[in-house]
Symmetry: C2
Subunit: 81 residues, 2 copies
């Protein structure tokens, strides 16, 4: 069975997010002044062939740990839809 | 009031996603063979100062249209948590 697993990878809360800061500045230049903070991360959709939901989540967790997220700078969150 | 608005920006379904293809190859090299497709986009968290949820969504939509998403290559999805 094919599961669609979503992984959200975001910079750690305590770290600076220069990309987010740049976007915040860009929004202000466009006249959008009511945004107070921006943080930018990755959104990854995986199609996983697995027997059940738990097996799909296990594969996604392995992928996140080994390749997709850098635990020194990022946190990840996995959800299955 | 401050609303946390999430914007998911993904490459259009019909377009090639080279970053996703590279990750798919990387996962195979790591021995993770049950992933059949990978698509990678951006996840953006905005803190928006607004009177109500609808106003926050309106600001996020404007930000997505003007700066965050390229409609030729990407679709965006807005949610408020």
């Amino acid at each position: 069975m094919i599961f669609t697993v979503q992984i959200k990878v975001m910079p750690l809360k305590d770290l600076l997010d220069p990309q987010g800061k740049a976007v915040l500045g860009g929004l202000e230049n466009l006249g959008i002044n009511n945004v107070t903070d921006v943080r930018i991360g990755k959104h990854i959709d995986l199609q996983i062939e697995a027997e059940n939901k738990d097996a799909a989540i296990a594969t996604a967790t392995e992928a996140a740990k080994k390749l997709l997220a850098n635990p020194v700078m990022e946190v990840y969150e996995i959800s299955v839809s």
